[in-house]
């Protein structure tokens, strides 16, 4: 049921959404993008890379094509590209696309063997692509002394979870790419409402429900919480999977015969999430995407975000974009009282395909882009806040820029994260799983029925 909202809040919501929408649309581009920065404009010395025992110039004169999603990582690294070009003599060409178009083009480019892109973004489909034989394993490059310097690269500085994801999330022993960005589930809440009602930051799921209930029942214009209800393997189930793990469950008790989705602990977690959104979420919670969730919090219409990407922080605390900017608190995602804190995390990696003409050159680019000097420079000078390197989150200058709370919560969450083990069929059965959960959140079937159907679908697909 829709509640009666004040005109101010509605206007604020539309304003906040409009800013985001226009920003997004303004960033849309179909074609390639060439960096206009010159080497002189970039305060990133080439010398930092020459310390490495790597033959950077071995592919001088060649060109690599990069297929990328419109992502802040691209904007943050583009100004530094002249440094890479100077260092290696390799030219870089970009092909930047909106996410949906990128996924479609990536699939056709890589699966048909066209090999147009030497480097491209990969996420949950990594095992689907790897098992199909499309990805070029990077191990031979790591073993090549002229291409990789273990001491200089500082591999251990990369969060373990992101390295694990770049090894196919436990399904492969080989490198499928190199992680470049990571985001982790965190909790956002309204500090002013917490103060007003004397609430403590929730560490457990029960405390979170209680806080959401207090705000929902006492505020006429603010709902207790907001969370992703929309279907899609990056939507509702992306959040729910964390709560399944925290309840002691997991995806695939035994692959491919037992998905674990119809286990009691998984059903308990799903019931918790569905009830939370139904009781204290907005009307129509089943159709909420992550952008709706962000907009509701920005407009001041939600008391909490149950758990979503830590990357919401800049949008929520920017006074230009958020009416609640001065009253946003950040905390680690809640866990059951007897469960284990295990937030989900999501990493983009860059990979190269078996059909790419310049995979070795691509590897040098991946190494350069994810190295400590480049990553630190992007995060100190170019507004980035998604580092896969622990040292960045511990860097005082960076922590001062992004805020101590954000940096510390993110660091602790990334150290404890247990990302989804995306098997090769995840996009397929995950779609059905998310549809079933969406139907349950909409109240059109029981959660138990949804999870049982999801388990059957997952086991059928994986067993094919």
């Amino acid at each position: 049921m829709a509640s009666k909202r004040s005109g101010r809040n509605r206007r604020n919501f539309i304003k906040a959404t409009g800013v985001g929408l226009l920003g997004g649309l303004a960033g849309c581009t179909r074609g390639g993008s060439d960096s206009e920065a010159s080497l002189e404009d970039v305060d990133l010395p080439v010398d930092d890379y020459e310390e490495a025992d790597i033959d950077w110039q071995q592919f001088e004169g060649s060109t690599i094509d990069i297929g990328a999603v419109q992502h802040p990582w691209v904007a943050a690294i583009e100004p530094a590209i002249p440094v890479f070009e100077e260092l290696t003599g390799i030219d870089v060409r970009w092909n930047i696309l909106p996410e949906q178009e990128f996924r479609t083009k990536r699939l056709t480019d890589i699966s048909t063997g066209a090999g147009e892109w030497d480097v491209f973004f990969v996420d949950q489909v990594v095992n689907q692509f790897r098992e199909a034989g499309w990805l070029q394993p990077l191990d031979s490059y790591f073993d090549d002394d002229s291409m990789y310097d273990e001491d200089w690269y500082a591999m251990d500085d990369l969060f373990e979870a992101t390295r694990w994801q770049a090894h196919g999330g436990g399904y492969s022993d080989t490198w499928t790419g190199i992680p470049i960005t990571v985001e982790v589930l965190t909790q956002f809440y309204r500090t002013d409402l917490y103060e007003e009602y004397g609430l403590e930051v929730a560490e457990t799921l029960d405390e979170f429900v209680s806080n959401a209930q207090t705000i929902h029942e006492n505020e006429s214009d603010v709902v207790g919480t907001a969370g992703r209800g929309q279907k899609g393997y990056g939507m509702n189930i992306y959040i729910l999977n964390s709560f399944i793990r925290e309840h002691g469950g997991q995806l695939w008790d035994n692959y491919p015969t037992n998905s674990g989705l119809d286990a009691e602990r998984a059903i308990t977690a799903a019931e918790w999430y569905a009830s939370l959104l139904q009781d204290y979420g907005p009307g129509g919670a089943s159709s909420q995407t992550w952008s709706d969730v962000l907009s509701m919090m920005q407009s001041g219409n939600a008391g909490h975000i149950v758990s979503d990407a830590n990357l919401f922080w800049p949008d929520l605390t920017d006074p230009e974009a958020s009416d609640a900017a001065d009253n946003i608190g950040i905390a680690k995602a809640p866990a059951p009282a007897d469960g284990e804190f295990a937030p989900n995390s999501y990493a983009w990696q860059i990979s190269t395909s078996k059909n790419a003409d310049n995979s070795a050159e691509a590897f040098l680019f991946m190494l350069w882009a994810s190295s400590e000097p480049t990553t630190t420079w992007m995060h100190l000078n170019n507004g980035a806040a998604f580092s896969v390197r622990q040292s960045v989150w511990e860097n005082d200058e960076f922590r001062s820029r992004v805020g101590e709370d954000f940096a510390q919560v993110t660091l602790e969450s990334l150290q404890a994260t247990a990302p989804d083990p995306f098997d090769s069929q995840y996009p397929e059965w995950g779609q059905t799983y998310s549809e079933e959960i969406q139907t349950a959140i909409a109240g059109n079937q029981s959660v138990e029925e949804a999870m049982t159907n999801s388990a059957t679908a997952a086991e059928d697909v994986a067993g094919e």
């Binding site: 829709a2 509605r10 689907q128 929309q230 009307g283 089943s286 159709s287 509701m296 079933e436 969406q438």
Partner: protein, 311 residues
């Protein structure tokens, strides 16, 4: 000499024959380039689609790609693939949207035709065709905000100014909601065609009906609508085909959800092809869909078109 004469006579006669041949088949020569283009862009993809529907083409199983597997793709799509559900939803969507758009388009055309002031007519024409200029994806995004149960202007107005409580549009009434949003987007198309058709009804016919004492509704039933039959038919046919191809608006608005409640065939094909990477099954659905739409349109053209409109 005689040989020379024969040669002189045969040269112009060959040219004449060529010219006669050209003239005799003139319409066909003019059509040839278009026929070739149509073959290239419709028949070839259609045949290739049929081929894909009969072979294994799951991208993640490259070793099996191209193996003939009979009707297995059809079986996959129509048993576990949810194609039956998507066909049902598509028919409901097309019938609902077509009914709303045709009815509303006709009503608006009639109202604007009845306006006396030319200036106001121009104003209404411009105002009514504006929604058609909005791109479906933008419209879907705007609609999501306007229909938001907590902060959307539409639920707010319903709850504030009517005795009713606004429903959660995208959760409780998803199919009706996408039909209404499509109606908002495409009624202008029907309006503009109907308005043109209505404007072309000869004044003499209307005047005669008026002199005979026919009330307004009789003039519509016996004069205006029969006169507009070709226009009505063509507009409905074009919109019908277009509705069957709807994708962007619904994909952006609901992604086919909640669950699969708004999963049109086009979305099902996209999902089967690009999420499940099973191009064989996706092609099987597309083949059935193509045959169904072509058959339906031909039945309409043959049964209504030639008998009721063109003659």
């Amino acid at each position: 000499m005689s040989t020379q004469t024969q040669s002189t006579n045969s040269e112009p006669s060959a040219l004449v024959r060529l010219r006669d041949l050209w003239n005799a088949y003139l319409p066909y020569w003019f059509m040839t380039p278009m026929v070739l283009v149509m073959l290239l862009i419709t028949v070839f993809p259609g045949i290739y689609d049929l081929y894909l529907s009969l072979v294994k083409y799951k991208l993640t199983d490259p070793t099996a790609i191209g193996q003939f597997n009979g009707l297995e793709n059809f079986q996959t799509a129509f048993t576990s693939g949810g194609a039956v559900n998507s066909f049902t939803i598509t028919i409901l969507f097309v019938v609902g949207a077509l009914a709303f758009e045709t009815g509303l388009g006709f009503l608006l055309a009639a109202l604007v035709t009845g306006v006396k002031s030319d200036r106001m007519k121009t104003f209404y024409r411009i105002a009514f065709i504006l929604p058609m200029a909005v791109a479906p994806v933008s419209l879907a995004t705007i609609s999501r905000i306007m229909l938001n149960s907590e902060v959307g202007v539409i639920p707010y107005m319903i709850t504030q100014y009517t005795p009713f409580v606004a429903p959660n549009f995208l959760s409780d009434l998803p199919l009706l909601t996408v039909i209404l949003v499509d109606t908002w987007n495409w009624t202008p198309f029907m309006f503009i065609i109907f308005y043109a058709g209505m404007s072309s009804v000869p004044d003499t016919l209307l005047e005669a009906a008026r002199v005979d004492g026919a009330p307004l509704w009789r003039r519509y039933v016996h004069v205006i609508i029969p006169y507009m039959k070709p226009v009505l038919f063509v507009a409905i046919l074009i919109r019908l085909i277009d509705l069957f191809r709807t994708f962007g608006l619904v994909f952006s608005l609901t992604s086919g959800g909640p669950g699969t409640e708004t999963e049109l065939v086009s979305i099902n094909i996209f999902q089967t092809g690009f999420t499940f990477v099973d191009l064989g099954a996706a092609s099987a659905i597309a083949v059935v869909y193509l045959i169904g739409i072509v058959a339906l349109c031909n039945i309409l053209i043959i049964k209504i078109g030639f008998e009721g409109v063109w003659e």
